[in-house]
Amino acid sequence: MIAERLRSALGARKVLTGKAERMTYRHDAIQIGALPMAVVLPEDTADVVTTVKLCRDANVPIVGRGAASGLSGGAAPARESVVVAFTRMTKLDLFPERREAWAQPGVVTATVSERAKPFGLVYPPDPASWRTSTIGGNLAENAGGPMCFKKGVTGDYVKEIEFVDASGAVHRAARDAFDLAGLLIGSEGTLGLITGARLRLDTPPAFTRTLMAHFAEVGQAAQAVSRAIASGAVPAKLEFMDRACLGAVEGYLGIGLPVHAGAALLIDTDGDDEETVTEELELARAACEAEGGTVRVAANAAEAEDLWRARRAISPSLGRIRPHRMNEDIVVPRSALAEVVREIEELGREAGLVVAQFGHIGDGNLHPNILYDPKKESSDAVHALAHEIALVAVRHGGVLSGEHGIGSMKRDFMTDAVDAVTMDVLWRVKRTLDPRGQLNPDKLLPEVSA
């Protein structure tokens, strides 16, 4: 039995074998997967190597896991597996003079910025779940966040990674020659287990201004985004939420959001020159007003923080509307935004399902969420609608995943988005690094007939 072998190799403290323990490690924030055969809580890279080797010898699949706040099924085992939860690998070393940090995968995302702050530094990637999610999970999914419009996503802040491959070999990969680090980032635990990363830190902007604008209709909000960017504003963050989201978040926080609006935009401008920051905010305000929006500028940092807390709470707040959801994570060209948002709203109406939309609209990233109650609504209809939404993205020249990964949720749609030749290359890469298919099986790449 793999559980006993792991126990005797690593010690009881690092291996959970009880049913109760294993039951709590089989999900992420969207899917509930198979009951793990054992849960390993490694404390260093050597523990990971031991685990991988034992699993390889026993032919048991491995699923990596951070805080399991992911939204594509990435960390939920698709079949009986050993779950490797990295939450005890929390070592974080700062090198302020080089503006770098070395993080083990279990470090909680927000901690990096908190620890860097006294040195006048910040780690920009800011997924909504940053107080919960871990660096390892962020790397596996190449997580984004509101900051990504101006500052980029997790992958843009990684200089080097350490990973353990399916044979148990430890690699160090930087971004030179073949960008092997880039290959592992966003590979959702299917190519290797990331055990450390050298992260790039940045200086925080001296000034930030925030506004919220609300609109009667979703398309107007999307048009305001294009107008604002065309007029020369480079907002630091540019977020979109529709009426359903506004209602759900208001139910949680009660901070006076415009719940009757069709949609709202949340915009930050930032930089080191106060005049430019204000100028850019004014450009955004003018664009919103030109599209018929009502604008409210946050009077102070506390008010801005309230609005951002609202934004970060959208995804989990949707549970207030329906207990279940299918989360999409499409990216479309900005020029197509208004049309895409309207088309998706219409598809939802036709299917008779609640669709809530939000996202980092500044870079075309949208999260249409189909909300449903499995006791009352058919999961086939939900899946069919999700597929339709994916096709809308592809039709408008977009992609299936901006930041949450493909996981098991969108795996079936990959063949719509990726041509056969490219898919073959992806599979060949997978087989090279994981010849026996033991790393997070049934995720990301759809089965193709050979």
Binding site: E21, T24, V249
Partner: protein, 421 residues
């Protein structure tokens, strides 16, 4: 989350639990808010994990005994409820789960006896006082006693304070502005009689007539939260009968008791008195909320500024969502410099009978809280709950600190009397 909880078989309790499980989207936003997750770092000891475990037990997929250790380690602080964007009523789930499963639990004899003893003594100031005197005598022999008896002794004061006889009525001074009924609380009458004395003085000073109904008893929270629903129900019935309805509010100065009273609609769900319980609970107010709404009579400025740290009791901040009011009434003292405690949202580890049943974890949380409190360099720590008070004071003394720990109303009382320094 999807579930197959047999709601029909479980009755009203089943509905409550199924609704809570339904609402959880397992996003993990609760993890950083959970004290046991902060200490142990494992899913089973997080709110999200416990929801999974309770669901599996209710569905018959997991034996209760397998889940129990993790459910027992929950403090019930409800920090996760504040952090939960989906609005999962975790507190209701936990309380109801404990109440429906307690009779199926197998517990060692000594643990059973300690529990029974606590549930008998805590609600009765007379018995509790007798117990406290006994404890005082037993303290020197602590090391030879079984572990289960050591923890309660640790928390007893070196000397039991003199008794304060509760009046049945305290008239308003000056112009009458309101009339309230007051819940006297149980353990705090013995451990900190000045909480009530100070509260009554401040209320009177602010023009409030206070009725202290003689027939009142324990709110029943300790019983309910340890799974003794029958006992809690009978205590609830006593109070529903004892408290008058023709008052502006039912006021409490103990966060735990206040939440206990506010939980009557949950306790009486499906019972004959459900309506009455809802109406009663809607009149219950923490004294800080009542005074903030009433508006405080002015105080003379302090001779020199006093630095006061405020500790959020979980049963005020998380269970009752009362955070602003205690701060606002403290800030009403001219010259009082109010400071925040780092990690303020994290439970101090007292949590009802938790520090007696889970002394090791409670101790780690208590020490962590005391260190955070010390880092504020305040002269006084104010809080609104006897449990937190005892716990934090114990740990401050253990760290060698002489910092004064007071009830929020004691601070106000001293300020009114010109004795705050």
């Amino acid at each position: 989350m999807n579930h197959d909880i047999p709601v029909a078989d479980l009755g009203p309790a089943g509905e409550i639990m199924a609704h809570a499980v339904d609402a959880c989207v397992h996003c993990g936003f609760c993890l950083p808010a959970c004290p046991t997750y902060a200490l142990l770092g494992e899913e089973m000891d997080s709110p999200r994990g416990r929801i999974f475990l309770m669901k599996e037990v209710l569905e018959g997929e997991l034996p209760l005994a397998d889940a129990a250790p993790f459910i027992d380690r929950c403090l019930g602080c409800q920090g996760c409820v504040t952090a939960c964007p989906s609005g999962v009523p975790y507190g209701e789930l936990l309380t109801t789960f404990r109440a429906t499963t307690e009779q199926k639990r197998e517990r060692p004899a000594l643990q059973r006896a300690v529990r029974a003893g606590l549930l008998t003594a805590l609600p009765s100031p007379k018995l509790f006082r007798a117990g406290a005197y006994l404890g005082q005598v037993a303290k020197p022999f602590k090391s030879v006693l079984p572990r289960a008896l050591q923890a309660p002794l640790d928390l007893l004061p070196g000397r039991v304070p003199a008794k304060f006889d509760m009046p049945t009525f305290v008239p308003a001074q000056g112009k009458r502005r309101a009339r309230v009924a007051f819940l006297a609380g149980c353990a705090q009458q013995v451990l900190a009689p000045n909480f009530n004395a100070a509260t009554l003085r401040v209320l009177a000073r602010n023009g409030v007539d206070v009725v202290i109904p003689e027939g009142q008893g324990c709110c029943g929270a300790a019983a309910l939260h340890t799974g003794a629903r029958g006992q809690a129900l009978s205590m609830g019935r006593t109070n529903l009968a004892a408290f008058p309805t023709d008052v502006d509010a039912v006021v409490t100065n103990a966060a735990g008791c206040g939440s206990g009273l506010k939980e009557y609609p949950l306790l009486f769900k499906g019972e004959r008195e459900e309506e009455q319980a809802i109406s009663f609970a809607s009149r219950v107010k923490d004294v800080s909320v009542f005074l903030a709404e009433l508006g405080l009579e002015p105080m003379l400025p302090l001779a020199k500024p006093v630095r006061v740290a405020y500790h959020d009791a979980c049963h005020l901040a998380h269970a009752q969502k009362v955070k602003a009011q205690p701060r606002s009434i403290l800030k009403a003292v001219p010259g009082l410099d109010l400071v925040e405690v780092p990690e303020g949202d994290l439970c101090c580890g007292s949590a009802g009978t938790y520090n007696i049943e889970q002394p090791e974890l409670a101790g780690r949380l208590g020490e962590r809280k005391a260190r955070n409190v010390l880092s504020t360099n305040a002269a006084i720590l104010a809080s609104g709950n006897i449990g937190c008070h005892t716990q934090i004071e114990t740990h401050l003394r253990r760290l060698g600190s002489p910092m004064r720990v007071m009830h929020t109303l004691e601070v106000l009382d001293l300020a009114y009397r010109g004795e705050l320094s």
